[in-house]
Structures are given as structure tokens and as C-alpha cells.
Symmetry: C2
Subunit: 339 residues, 2 copies
């Protein structure tokens, strides 16, 4: 058996949509158990929604939950008795092999750092997600946890990405820094400096700078940037993908000769959405903490939570966390060694 702790209390749409997502994922994975920290008022609802899986769902009482609007300070004060705190503690104690939260990102960051600890050398964990591309998925990080980063922090993020892939058996992932030009003299000073550090610490994996239009090529395994750039890039593409799929549907409805194709076309649009959807609906991972922590955004609906939970199950099953730590430690020494 295999256990994930799910904190469903902080989402905008309420925990009930999450119960339905949990039921689907439990159905798909007969070896999966879930720990659900819930305030008492929700226990009966949860039991009803998950009654078919009662032997694989453990409801844990908690006293509060952290709202999206709550300041991180509140997370520290009320954290341990909140649904999020109880979920992370279940992972820290070994009862669960991973945590998914639909809640406040800042609070998740603080509580994960405190209860799970971070990899040596990482000050603040980063948010990462794998986005689909023309070929292999691309691990993009940071997506908003660290708005500004020093060259060394950017380089550490690169080494973390390499370690993440090595923990999954991919020994020579190709990683790049997001920049506004490919030549080594392009872009801001801190990115150029980070490039030098990565070239020194991991020359076999570092592929130099990549530009925005390289994101979907599929030639890279990971793309490293500060949280501001990553958030902007990801959200802008989400906006465009939404618009383009609407536009295609409109094109068909407005055309007399094509309108009758809509039923056929709907099927194709569904398949395209499915191909690009893990990026748009799936969650983000908190990398740099000692554990498997993932989050979905506050507006997550049933589909989003289901994707994120499926993804976390897969990641947790296929990755060797001890390997990630040892690979990262080894690469870090290369970063810190004198030239």
C-alpha cells in the first residue's frame, strides 16, 4: 500500500469537489490509501462521498484550516493543528509518502520547511511543474515562490532539477536558463553569472540559455528561472491556450460549411486539451524540501485536483528521494568548489 495525505480545506470551491476527485483516483489506484485531515463538520460528508473506499481512507480530525488570504505568520501560529499542518505531519512521520494541498502556497512553503526540512544548501524551496511540449515534458521552475534570485540560488535550482531527474533514472538531463537571447553575453547579469556557475558544476547537463519560444520545443528536460519570470511565462501560455481553443470552436460555429463538423471536432479539441492539460490543470511541486509536496491553485475544480493527485502518486512512486538528496549534495560540492 501507498499513502498520500491530502489537505482539501483551503480551496475556493470547498472540500466537496476534492472528495469527488479523491474517489476517482482511489478507483484508479487500488494500492492507494489517503489520509484526509478535516474539521469535524465535514466528516460525515467525506464518509458519504468516499464510502466505497472506507477501508482506504483515513479521516484525521483537525481544528482549523488556513485560508487563501491568510498571512504566512498565521500558518506558523495555527499551523500544526490546521488541516495543512496535520497533512504535512503525516508525511513527516512516515505515515504518508506524499502531501497534496489545495491551500495557501506561502503557508505550505513555511510549514513544509519547518516540518520536513530542506535539502542542504537550499534556503527556500521552489515551485516546479512539468509542462507538456512537442516531445518530452519540461520541468519548469521556479514558478512564483522566489521572485528574485541570486546567481547562486538560480544555479542551485538548476542542480536541483538535475538531481530530480537523476532520482528518476535520467542521468543526463538537459537543463537551460530562461533568458532573452541564446548568446552568453545576453540578458541580465545575474542570469549570465548563474550560467557560468552551472557550466562549472554540471557541464554534462547544462545546455546554456533558452528563449521563450524554445519552451515548447521539447529539446530540454528542465528550464530554470526566477519565480517572477516563470509565473509570467506559465500564466501567459495558459491564457493563450484558452483563447486558441475557444477561437477554433468559434471558427467552426461561424462557418456554414463546417458547422456540422462540430461533434467530430469536439472530440479533437478534447484530445488536444488532454495533451496540454497537465500543465494547465495539474499542480505544482515544492522542490527543495525533504519530501514529496505538491499543491494545486485555490480555484482548483474536481478535474484539477484529480490531475494533481494522479501526478503526485506517479511522481512519488517513481522517484527515489534519497537518491535526489545524494545527487544534489554531490552537485552542490561542484558549485562551491574553487574554480
Amino acid at each position: 500500500m501507498f499513502t498520500i495525505a491530502v489537505d482539501v480545506m483551503g480551496g475556493d470551491l470547498g472540500p466537496r469537489v476534492a472528495f469527488r476527485a479523491c474517489a476517482t483516483v482511489l478507483q484508479n489506484h487500488p494500492d492507494l490509501r489517503l489520509i484526509l485531515p478535516l474539521e469535524t463538520s465535514l466528516h460525515i460528508d467525506a464518509q458519504k462521498a468516499l464510502s466505497r473506499f472506507s477501508d482506504r481512507v483515513l479521516i484525521k480530525p483537525c481544528q482549523s484550516h488556513i485560508d487563501m488570504a491568510d498571512k504566512p505568520a498565521r500558518a506558523l501560529r495555527q499551523g500544526l493543528s490546521s488541516s495543512m499542518g496535520v497533512a504535512i505531519q503525516a508525511h513527516a512521520s512516515g505515515d504518508a509518502q506524499g502531501v497534496l494541498s489545495v491551500g495557501n502556497t506561502g503557508a505550505l512553503m513555511i510549514l513544509s520547511k519547518r516540518l520536513l526540512g530542506t535539502l542542504g544548501g537550499i534556503d527556500r524551496p521552489a515551485l516546479a511543474t512539468q509542462i507538456p511540449t512537442r516531445k518530452q515534458p519540461l520541468l519548469m521552475m521556479d514558478l512564483g515562490a522566489n521572485l528574485e534570485m541570486s546567481p547562486k540560488q538560480l544555479a542551485q535550482l538548476g542542480l536541483l532539477a538535475i538531481s530530480w531527474y537523476r532520482a528518476r533514472g535520467i542521468m543526463k538531463p538537459s537543463i537551460a536558463l530562461l533568458n532573452i537571447g541564446k548568446e552568453s553575453n545576453k540578458g541580465p547579469e545575474d542570469i549570465r553569472e548563474a550560467g557560468k556557475l552551472l557550466h562549472r558544476a554540471a557541464p554534462e547537463c547544462y545546455a546554456g540559455f533558452a528563449e521563450g519560444d524554445d519552451v515548447f520545443n521539447g529539446d530540454l528536460h528542465a528550464l530554470i528561472c526566477n519565480g517572477f519570470a516563470g509565473n509570467i511565462a506559465l500564466k501567459t501560455t495558459e491564457g493563450l491556450a484558452d483563447w486558441l481553443t475557444t477561437m477554433m470552436a468559434d471558427e467552426l460555429s461561424n462557418s456554414k460549411s463546417l458547422r456540422w463538423l462540430i461533434p467530430l471536432w469536439r472530440h479533437t479539441i478534447k484530445r488536444i486539451e488532454k495533451r496540454i492539460s497537465p500543465a494547465r490543470h495539474g499542480g505544482a511541486m515544492l522542490l527543495g524540501v525533504c519530501g514529496h509536496v505538491a499543491k494545486t491553485h485555490g480555484k482548483s475544480d474536481e478535474k484539477t485536483i484529480k490531475y494533481a493527485l494522479e501526478y503526485l502518486v506517479k511522481q512519488t512512486k517513481t522517484a527515489d528521494q534519497a537518491r535526489l538528496q545524494s545527487e544534489f549534495d554531490r552537485l552542490q560540492r561542484g558549485l562551491n568548489s574553487p574554480e
Copy 2:
């Protein structure tokens, strides 16, 4: 009559593709004249390619051209006798009402500043483009000229965008700052500070922060960001748009029941590409200089140059440059006045 100076010498594909683009645009605009600064070796080619419009094309001799790889210092040394320098001088002297260059962006920036001057209060011009959205086009700036900007420089860019719209008769454009959250406490310090300045100087136009997924909504007239963020956002969406249109074509060819639709579908794809293409193929404007200066990227093909030239013709005809300057001066005083 109405004249544009076109510098076609610096592009990667050579000047001949530009001659064809010029011919199409001359055909579409019977009141348009072009000034083409060209090295002597190209005069005969140009005369042949544009023979139908010989009464509306003035070929001006120049002694050199600035390559894409040239350092800006070279632009200053050889600038005035280069094709780019001759084109900008034609605008500065009033012989042309606008300039389009297929050449080096850094050199265009330096020579435009020197020969045309900048609006009072603007240190460095910005690159801007209008991208299509669900509703009205969105003026996005900066796109790469200024990688980092102070709060005051960001705010000036916002005022420049407002002035740009007012010079076109739109008195209350809605402008926003690109950020990673909508709340006023989100994002980096410099953006929050710029927000305060814009709120003070232009409360009737400033709409607060916008996120990446708002870019294509069409609710805004202008979106302001530093050149790093703007470049990343624009190029990432270009990459996704390319991939999505390929993916749709692939979906059809791979489906037995849909394959026969490809001829019909090709028509729809073309129309979608046309709707989104001004952003992908059109040029960028250099805003903040005293004049109408536009550029296309070095890899520009015939279609790209044609779009950019058409766009410049339209912008130059519809905008009142004196009005832009006076609006900007007035707004700037609001920015500089004590609180």
C-alpha cells in the same frame, strides 16, 4: 503623398525578400512613397523588383550597413553613412514620416535617440507591439530594450502608453502593470512602487496589476513590464501558438475519419493564423523617440516585413505625434509633482 524610409540591409534573409514586401505594400497604398537606402550593388535589383512603382520609390545610396552581430559602438561610428542611418536621417529631416528597419535593434535604438531625440523624461526608448486578444489589441511594452527598470521608469512607460492612445483619439485607455498577482501587496517591490506612481499620475487610466493569463482577455489597452518579462511572455506565447497550430493539423492527419477534412480545415487554420499573426509576424515600435520608428526581427521573411510595413503606415497615418508629446509632458508633471 506619404513617405516611409525602409532600411532593408541588415536582415538575415537579405534585402530581396524585403523588395517583394515593399512592392505589395506599394500596391495596396497608392498614396505611399518609399525611400530605400541601399548599397550600390543592390540598386539594379531594387529597380527591377520595384519597376512598377518607380515613380514612388526613391533609392538613396549608402556606404555600409550594420549587421545583426555588430556592437552598438559600431552603429555610432559608421552609423550616419549606413543604410539605417540614412533611413533615420530621412525621417529626422522630414523627408519621410516614419522609418522601418529590418536591422540590429541596439543600433536602431542608439541612432534613433541621436538623430530623432527622445521625449522629455525618457532615458531609453522602449520596444512595444500590439498583440491581438479576444477583444481589442493590447499594446505590450517593453519587449526587450530595457531589461531592468526603476519604478519611475516603469511608470513613465505607463504614461507613454496612455499618451500613445490619446494621440490616436482614445482618451481613457485602460493600462496595467504585469505582475504575478492582482492584489496591491503582490510581486516585486519595484512593480508595487510603480503601481503607486501610476495611480497618482493617471488614476483614470491605471487599472492595477494584471497577470499573465489576463494578457489575451482583451480588457486592457496596454500592459507595462520590464523588457525581460515582456520578451519572455511574448516569445513563450509565440512558441505555444506554433505548437498548437501544428498539433491541430497533426490531429486531423492522424485521424482516419477527419483526414479528408484537411483542405477545409487548412482554410480555418489560415484564418486563425491571420487573427493571431500581427503579433507573431508584425514588427515592434520604438516608443519614446520623437518619431515613428519600427523594426522587424532579423529573421523576417517577406510576410513579416509586409505586415510590419502595413502596420507602420497605419500607425503613422492615424497618430498625432505632437499630441503624444504634449500628453506625455502633461502626465509626466503629475508623476513628478509632490504627493
